[in-house]
Symmetry: C2
Subunit: 157 residues, 2 copies
Amino acid sequence: MRKFPYGKARSMPSESAKQRRAQAKLDYDAFLTNCPSRQLLARISDKWVTLILAALGGDGPSAGAGGTGEARPLRYSELSRRLAGVSQKMLTQTLRSLERDGLVTRTVTPTVPVTVHYELTELGSSLQELMWGVKDWAEAHMDEVLANRDEYDARPA
Amino acid sequence: MRKFPYGKARSMPSESAKQRRAQAKLDYDAFLTNCPSRQLLARISDKWVTLILAALGGDGPSAGAGGTGEARPLRYSELSRRLAGVSQKMLTQTLRSLERDGLVTRTVTPTVPVTVHYELTELGSSLQELMWGVKDWAEAHMDEVLANRDEYDARPA
DNA sequence: GTGCCTACTTCCTATGAGAGAGTAGCGGGT
DNA sequence: ACCCGCTACTCTCTCATAGGAAGTAGGCAC
């Protein structure tokens, strides 16, 4: 396993993207505290990130029979309405960090009042597929979890 | 879409597990604040949950060429060592909630000192596959994200 | 007795999530 | 002229919680 001091200039120019990602999997280990991938994992393991990506992904590959699974850009206010209960602060904060990490693009249109669109990048799309699966799992297995909780709480201490 | 007041006794006895899950996906919507699936999503969208499941899943389906992808039970102390940087409090807390939700089982062996094993349930395994994908994504795309961050930070405000 | 082991539990403090109000800049109503 | 309202934030305050550190039970070795 190659070991880097987590600096820059890590990839060889002749490697393919796939090769580089395979190499990255060996270089990075999210089980380690100081590995950057631990921080990245912490960032994406977040309910708002999951919901934002799911929303920008157009409700995912299923969405019943009519779902196209196509990504579609959303305005700030649309996201705010879709993600019920999110504070403006958290929404802005989360979107900024997703933008910084290259998962979404932020497009300002100078109408009046100004409108801002957020859209998944290709990188964001690749994660969105996973995140949609997570959201879907939560919805699909809710009953099972609820039943387990009842059983657990009912059993003698 | 059937609407429930999020009470108990939700499933019809004659439905198959698959049918029930499909129905659950319609009943529950993690985009809504008060939906229990929102809480469940928040619970599983957590770095420690991801790492615990990944660890109990035996490093996932890849793990290079030798990985079996087989789940294997781990002791508390083994988990504590594997998840570098986790506090005992968080580990215990997270394991308890996973146990309550029926994702892991807790087995106490009355040796001296006592040993406790944690193992994935079938339900936990189904989520572990997703979570492993998330951890894997973080490690595989770390370089891309790092590059995006550099670019973002370098560009004029 | 003293120390050590595992698997916790308790206490304290710093971080950060969320609620609520404030801001810029312009258009539209009266 | 004046006030309102709209979008997309930004600021401030408060309360919850994550994490660090230290304490606990109970038994075996020395």
